[in-house]
Subunit: 152 residues, 4 copies
């Protein structure tokens, strides 16, 4: 199973949440496993989309309690590492889709670029040409999948 | 889904591997998700058992490459944290079943006791009365499940 | 003792190294402890400057061997956490001075902003107004010190 | 500078604290840097001893705030990693002296043995012949120093 990460803030507008929902749904429809930070906002939107399409979702949590997970997470990885868990979200994903996001998301984009992972951006930090900027959930998932295939 | 951890060494005898296999199978048959360190030995035995019973398996890997996972791991959590990932195996499990094992397993037992997690032992370190020593895979999984229920 | 972090790439030009050297020297002359990632490039330049001014230097290393440290590190913190150690460099510093740098440095800037730590930049990522851009080592250290005082 | 770790519980009796104090003092008198978890109990006793002998002390903290450190810590390494920081205490020490201690200390002893680090025990877990049991602070520090030299 291909693991695809969705990164973004723990709080977001309904518009961003619905973009995340579409991304999560498309990941599941393409037989991908959704990896995320397990919390609210973009993470919850993506997980809800993946679950509604019958997919599998993994939440790599910063804290100490599996109940931190949003209701759409199947597997809770409880790290107790706080922000250092961001690195694990990146490492556990074959490609990352960044949606909107603040400084935490920026740190994940940076680590992903450092590790040479494909990063696709939707309405997110435009800080480097290595982040492939796209404009729709469909493009995001298609680009992520094709970039993963190119690496294998 | 209840996540149950199986801990033990990355290399083991066929006899220990077959105990791990039975434990993994029983976890899956009881609708548990198997959490482990993702490598060989006891981890591979347990994951093989869980998969053959149609279960779901999570490997929390110490290194940098999802290919470190044994062939029976569904979800690879790639940590890059080396032995510090042991803490994540413990935190991500509602109870731990320790099978045989060396110093790495001992560190996981110690962290589990520190965090107040139930630990059931099969042929493992007998260092503290808080580790419930049992003699069969069936007893191990039954005790783990009943200790989890008691906590909830 | 005030701990000030210097972040930047493990390889750099002589010009950047000499900027790092000045920054390290000024940190030590102001009774600060230099915190860095312990490796070469900017980290080595800064540590050399701090040591030549009689200061104390801490290297928070990504790998497994204290010998990874550059020759100007007094205290080697051996993490074995790879890039996740970046978060520790940030957390262990009351302010950060970013010099040049690539994606690893960007991840540290992002985590510092996430944690609300003052970040002063010299010839580095200009991605957010919260990074105080300056043009000389003296300005960098002075701004870092005054931002730390303001927070206390 | 040789870095020697002292491990033990965050709360302890006055008798244990005074053993830790002697150990810390002897480490400093032998030009060692004291590495510990930075908190109270054994860690504080050892750090106080080291400081009174003019030594340097490093606290590798589990939490988010340098103020967690006991008053005798010079360098605060703020990890935010909770118990996973135990691995860093071990990795950053050329030898470990375990004094009394509970499950957290047991996890550190186990990791140290896993990594092949010398471990000297004073009134601590007697779980493996690889832990050199001694009965006085002087013996503890002498054995630690001689075991470090043998490895180099």
């Amino acid at each position: 199973m291909i693991q695809i990460g969705v990164i973004g803030a723990g709080e977001c507008t309904p518009a961003i949440s619905s973009i995340a929902y579409e991304v999560g749904k498309l990941i599941a429809q393409n037989n991908g496993v959704l990896v995320c930070g397990g919390l609210g906002g973009v993470m919850e939107g993506a997980a809800r989309g993946a679950k509604e399409a019958g997919g599998l979702t993994v939440g790599i949590l910063p804290g100490f309690d599996p109940k931190e997970s949003n209701p759409y997470i199947d597997i809770s990885v409880v790290t107790g590492l706080s922000h250092a868990r961001n690195v694990l979200v990146v490492r556990s994903s074959s490609a990352l889709i960044a949606i909107d996001g603040g400084y935490g998301t920026l740190s994940e984009i940076a680590i992903a670029l450092k590790l040479g992972k494909p990063v696709v951006g939707l309405n997110t930090w435009n800080i480097d040409p290595a982040v492939i900027q796209v404009s729709t959930p469909r493009e995001a998932v298609e680009r992520a999948l094709s970039l993963i295939q190119k690496k294998h």
